[in-house]
Each structure stands twice: as C-alpha cells, then as structure tokens.
C-alpha cells in the first residue's frame, strides 16, 4: 500500500516456515532486498509467530529515498540498521549536569539554562 504522506510503501508480510524456527529479521530483510532490488530503504519489524509455529506475520516499509527514511522513521529503527547513533550519556548523568548548572544561576536567568547550551 502506498503511503504518500510518509513517502513510503507499507505492507504486511506473511512468512511461511513449516518445521523451522522463526526466521530472523535479517534474513527477511535480505529476501526483500532481492525481490525489490533496493537494499537500504527497506525496514521490517514487528514479527510475531502464530500459535503452533510455521507462520509469522510482520510489517515492512519501503521508503522512497534515504532522506525520507531518516526523516520519517523512529530513531531506534534507524539505529538497527546503523543509520543513527544515539547519545551514550545516561539520563541520570544529563539531569545531574543540568541541575548543577541551574544552581549557579539566579532567577530569570534559569530559563536560559538549556541541556546542551553550556557545553
């Protein structure tokens, strides 16, 4: 199904694998890349096996181009394909730094203290 608002084609993928365990995502991704000849703008996720095994259902999306994919995809999905690296600092560290900076400033100047502003 074409989704013009998000510049992609989205589909439900049914995998039949009688007698085998659930097919890993990377394999399905490779197969789709072969079928549609484009490799870097395909994303698959949400695979759930049916009761009794043998069939798995998941979703797949093919974007028009890499730029659209970067704009429209949630970051953790991009990170799976190593298109995105998130910050390695933990939330606790970041909050501590922020609070420390806030204590040094008085009254209305506190509004100017941003998490990334005073680096």
């Amino acid at each position: 199904m074409t989704n013009r608002l998000l510049q992609r084609k989205q589909m439900v993928i049914d995998v039949h694998h009688p007698g085998k365990a659930t097919v890993p995502k990377s394999e399905i991704w490779e197969k789709l890349a072969e079928m549609y000849k484009i490799a870097d703008v395909i994303f698959v996720f949400g695979f759930r096996a049916h009761f009794g095994g043998g069939q798995t259902t998941g979703f797949g999306m093919i974007y028009d181009s890499l730029d659209y994919a970067k704009k429209n995809k949630p970051k953790h999905r991009l990170a799976r394909h190593s298109l995105y690296e998130k910050k390695k600092t933990s939330r606790k560290q970041r909050k501590e730094e922020y609070n420390n900076r806030m204590t040094k400033v008085r009254r209305t100047a506190k509004a100017n203290v941003g998490p990334g502003k005073k680096k």
Binding site: M1, M11, D14, H16, H17, K20, E34, G46, M61
Partner: protein, 317 residues
C-alpha cells in the same frame, strides 16, 4: 348569403395554404439531398455493421421499413385514395408492435451501449470501470532468484511473500450516509428477540446436530470447518489483528488480557467439552443456564478510566 363569407374564408385559407406548400417543397428538397448523401455513404460501406450489436441493426431495419410504409400511405392519401383495408396499415401495425416489444431489451442493454459509445468517443476507459481491475498474475510469481540454491536445505524452504494491494488513484473521502432511526423497542420486543436468538443458538448446538445426524439419511460429512461459535475472545482477537495490520503497529497485551486469553484457550483444550453441553432450554422451555464461555451479564459501574495512549483500539463494551 353564406357564399361571400365562405369566399372570404377560402381566400385567407388560400394564402396560408400556398405558403405551407412552399415550405413543404423546400423541406422535401433538403431531406432528399440528405437522404441521397446518406445512401451514397452506405453504399460506399462507410458504416460497417457486421461486428456491431445485432439488436441495434434489427431496430435500424425495422425503422426503415416503417418509414417506407408510412410514405406509401401518405402517397396514396395525397392522391385521393382511401386507407380502408390498406395492406400497408397492417404492416405498420406489425412493425410498431415489434418495436414496442424491443423496448425493454433496449433498457437492459443501455449500460453496455453507453459505455461503448463513451469509449468510442473519448478513446479511453473511465476510471471507475470495473474492467480495469484485472488480476495481475505476474505479481503472484515469486521474485526470488536464489530459490534453486536453497533446494538442498532440510525440510521446508523459507519463502517470504509480500502482501500488497494495488491502490488506484486517491479519491476524495465521502462519509457514509447513516440515517438515524427512532428507537422505540419495548421490553416485550426485547424479550422476544432474546428468545429468538437463544432458539437459533440452541438449534445449532452439538446436541441437536447429533440428533439430526442420527435420524437423517444423508451420508455423514466430516468437514474441517472453523469453530461455529465465535466466542467473545475470538472476536476480540480478530479485532486486534485487524487493528494491528491496518495501523502497522504492535499492541501490547496487558496482564488481564493475557489471563482472559489463557482461560479461553484452556477451556477449549481440556475435556470440558465432553461433559458440558450448550443450553437448549430455548427449545425445551426449561430454565436457562449460562454457557461457560459467555460472561454473566454484570452491571458495570461507571468508573472513570485513565486516558490511555492507544485509545483508538479500545472498544467500549
């Protein structure tokens, strides 16, 4: 003394008669010219009709015959003959009846003829033409090229088939027209409906079905059919699956939901169905006892629920 009066009337009539005759002559000349041109074209085979609709051909011929008979009659009448018992009159009546009988056929073919004419005029099929949505067998073939190399794997091959629906051009959303109907169902009517439903359910229960099988002469059918009773849980599951596939998200299953699902599946897998039969009191007239998979009708208290993120999915019970 009527003669001069008549003469005056005759004179005025004469004027109009002469002008009318002149008009008639002009028109006749124009029509003759057109008919001659048409005849030339038909003889030059400009209008081939072998591959056309035979109904239209028949109508054409009938109309032509009608015209010929009519002109014959006019000629006879104009030269002073009487129409009494004229053979042409009978022929005209016959043709007229046939044309009248053809009219309903014409109505039935109207859609086809209109479509053909439109295609001939514009040269393309319209967007909503159902002939456009043919199946594409090439889409059903697997596009995997490396399938042959995987033949020597253990048991099954792993195949990935993508489900894609080809959508046409985007059309403007027209909301469905729902007419509100007045609700005045009395208690008695509700009771009757409930009884009807209970009777239907009882008739399709396993007890009655087995009785039917016992006394009928038809051969025994072993069918691999779905469970005839759609339980509430299976309906909810279906609703969930539809939502997930249309929204392309995965919903999380809460603990309560998990418990309900487990209970429903356990009930079907145990030997519960050996000893518990569905309720057929609607047919026997006894007191109804509830089926195990139906929830007892409880009155729900109005507890304000916290807003959830995925409110689109939750159905109000």
């Amino acid at each position: 003394m009527a003669a001069p009066g008549n003469l005056a009337v005759l004179e005025s009539d004469l004027q109009s008669a002469v002008t009318l005759l002149k008009n008639l002559q002009d028109q006749v000349m124009a029509v003759t010219a057109q008919v001659q041109a048409l005849t030339k074209k038909v003889q030059a085979r400009a209008y081939p009709t072998e591959k056309g609709l035979s109904l239209l051909e028949v109508k054409d011929q009938l109309l032509l015959m009608y015209l010929m008979d009519l002109t014959h009659l006019i000629l006879d009448k104009a030269s002073g003959g009487s129409l009494q018992g004229h053979a042409a009159v009978l022929r005209l009546v016959e043709i007229r009846t046939v044309l009248e009988k053809l009219r309903p056929l014409d109505q039935k073919l109207k859609y086809q003829i209109d479509k053909l004419v439109k295609t001939a005029v514009t040269g393309i099929l319209s967007e909503n033409d159902p002939l456009r949505f043919k199946p594409h067998p090439s889409n059903m073939m697997s596009k995997l090229s490396s399938e042959d190399e995987e033949e020597d794997e253990a048991e099954g091959q792993s195949e990935a088939s993508g489900k894609k629906s080809v959508k046409g051009t985007v059309k403007k959303y027209v909301p469905p027209r729902l007419v509100p109907v007045h609700y005045d169902e009395t208690e008695a009517e509700r009771e009757k409906k409930r009884l009807e439903r209970a009777r239907k359910r009882a008739l399709s229960s396993s007890v009655i079905r087995e009785l039917k099988e016992q006394y009928s002469d038809a051969p025994e059918e072993i069918r691999d059919a779905r469970h005839p009773h759609v339980t509430r849980q299976s309906q909810e599951d279906q609703h969930r699956i539809n939502y997930e596939e249309s929204m392309m998200v995965r919903l999380s299953v809460s603990k309560r939901e998990k418990g309900r699902r487990k209970r429903a599946s356990v009930m079907n897998s145990q030997l519960h169905s050996l000893t518990h039969f569905s309720d057929i009191s609607a047919l026997t007239g006894g007191t109804p006892h509830l089926d195990e998979d139906q929830n007892p009708i409880k009155k729900r208290k109005k507890i304000p629920k916290k807003s959830r993120k995925k409110t689109g999915f939750r159905r109000r019970r």
